[in-house]
Symmetry: C2
Subunit: 340 residues, 2 copies
């Protein structure tokens, strides 16, 4: 297996992507195509002792983190993201990892790589920590106004990701809404609920954020607007709780002492809630997995992104999704055929 | 000023509503109409020494917390919620407070009390703690699929609530979206953005959850589906962080000691993040404020709910909202008149 790593993407490019790629090559036995400017990458690799299994795919163009996606796509056709996507399309790599501009990675890989059979649109997913383990939520920003059939496709992709990558047997699929009853929610949710109930998936009905965080679902599907709100709200609420906690713990001597004694606990906690520890956000539905890491990813997060893309390829998740969607299509078509 | 308190609503009715009403009457010098079954309420009041300023408005019917709202509205026309709403409509009270079934309070008071001039639909709001203070978010569940003009009405209501009740000068209004640029978001957000930009409100543009929690906006408007997701996600993320923290702090002796020393800090923190401390969720847009308290509200939360309803009436917020909406309507109509 060979994975492309965008060496020009992220707040700490090329240092962190290069270090992450080196860690991945050494620890995971994976081959890496490091995409970016050879003049910068060759010396960086040399500092790491030019490890085996990494080769540079040269391109000088790079898309900035805050650059207009629409412009960048047209004007920078040789960007590191474009080149990584081309490697994936040609089958020269089985996945790609980038800490670059999320919008650019989504748009470029959708156009260049193409989607799986039965998948209309790729979905951006995120793996969140729960009180019981982990859950995958999708879409969190690729499709702002999807149709209900897209949500069903997301549910299929999430199910196979959860079973193959998170190791969950018969993943429970929940539909994010604002009440558990089937009639609750907006029009999209009500339609998707009806379709999911008829599907062969392990659909457990509507779920709310507390169900997600208490670990009652393994896969949570929603439109990209709502999913993005959920993701950003989770991050902001946790950040604010930490902020207020720091304020309170530094107000008294007992609080400060507690803070010092509790350092280990706070550190372990950070490890559990830091979603970057999973490596990044999987962009599902392409031929081959793209993992979009946080812009401020450290080398470990980049390395973990490679691990997820690698496992995804090794487990043949793409093929499983296509088969499942094809089976659902055939079964949905069957009664109609009988009527004729 | 006189405020109706639903004595039959909530997980601890009638004890907590009665205790809250007694606290409010004693501490705030407000008159209370305690709505519920006299046979249960008279002895409960007697245990508190039958304080001045509280009278019982008798009704035997009560709507259960998990009861079907549609059925309850039709079959229990003399419920404590109906009676409290009737007092408000007749002007016998200036606000109402209930810890009962949220859906029932919203539906019944909308039908019985009616909305302010210029307001199409009431909006459920919530006051959240931020890193800098507090912000009001609306709608959080009353309107699942509103139009953009409703969001503008929410913004006006939120602005006057923030300035009169939260004491914010020229409140900054943000539109909840998934990116700061005007073009980001769904169709509703893009339309509302355009209208808000033209309004006399202090509109600061699209905001994300981190802007809200960092205190960059005083009023955040959104549709009720999205707002409910934001609210529930905030609660669930904080609950999960606490759960994981408890786990980590009890794993080692230093963690346990830190937990004991940090008790004061954790307690103060709880006081700051517990949104029930504000009393409840204001249902804005009716003639007179309804405050919907959490089902598990303690007497202090109920008392604080009464305080908010009281201040709302004293500051004449209803009238301010009507004037503002009327002015906006006239100004919007003016150019068209000139053209003719």
């Amino acid at each position: 297996m060979r994975i492309a790593v965008d060496a020009m993407g992220g707040d700490h490019a090329p240092e962190h992507p290069v270090s992450g790629a080196v860690m991945a090559a050494r620890e995971l036995g994976v081959e890496i195509a490091l995409v970016g400017d050879e003049a910068a990458l060759a010396p960086a690799l040399a500092r790491h002792g030019s490890p085996d299994g990494i080769d540079i795919v040269h391109t000088e163009e790079a898309i900035g983190m805050d650059e207009s996606v629409a412009l960048a796509i047209r004007q920078k056709r040789r960007s590191s993201i474009h080149e990584a996507a081309r490697l994936l399309r040609r089958g020269e790599v089985q996945g790609l990892v980038s800490a670059g501009n999320t919008g650019a990675v989504m748009a470029i890989s959708k156009v260049i790589v193409g989607t799986l059979n039965g998948v209309d649109r790729p979905a951006l997913a995120v793996v969140l920590p729960t009180q019981m383990g982990r859950a995958i939520v999708l879409d969190v920003g690729a499709n702002v106004e999807p149709k209900s059939r897209h949500l069903v496709q997301f549910a299929v992709m999430g199910t196979h990701f959860a079973s193959e990558i998170l190791g969950v047997e018969r993943p429970r699929v929940g539909l994010l809404s604002i009440g558990e009853e089937a009639g609750k929610g907006n029009d999209l949710v009500r339609k998707a609920h009806a379709t999911l109930r008829e599907s062969p998936l392990n659909f457990i009905g509507n779920v709310e954020a507390n169900d997600l965080y208490r670990g009652r679902a393994d896969v949570v599907v929603c439109d990209g607007f709502t999913g993005n709100i959920l993701l950003k709200t989770s991050e902001a609420a946790v950040e604010t709780l930490r902020f207020l906690m720091r304020t309170e713990f530094t107000r008294t001597w007992s609080g400060r002492l507690a803070g010092i004694l509790g350092r280990g606990a706070f550190r372990r906690l950070r490890g559990r809630v830091d979603y970057a520890e999973f490596g990044g956000a999987p962009l599902l539905g392409l031929r081959g997995l793209a993992v979009i890491c946080h812009g401020r990813s450290n080398p470990r997060a980049m390395r973990n992104g490679v691990r997820v893309a690698l496992e995804y390829g090794q487990h043949g998740v793409d093929r499983r999704i296509e088969v499942a969607l094809n089976d659902m299509q055939s079964n949905a078509a069957a009664p109609a055929a009988t009527v004729r």
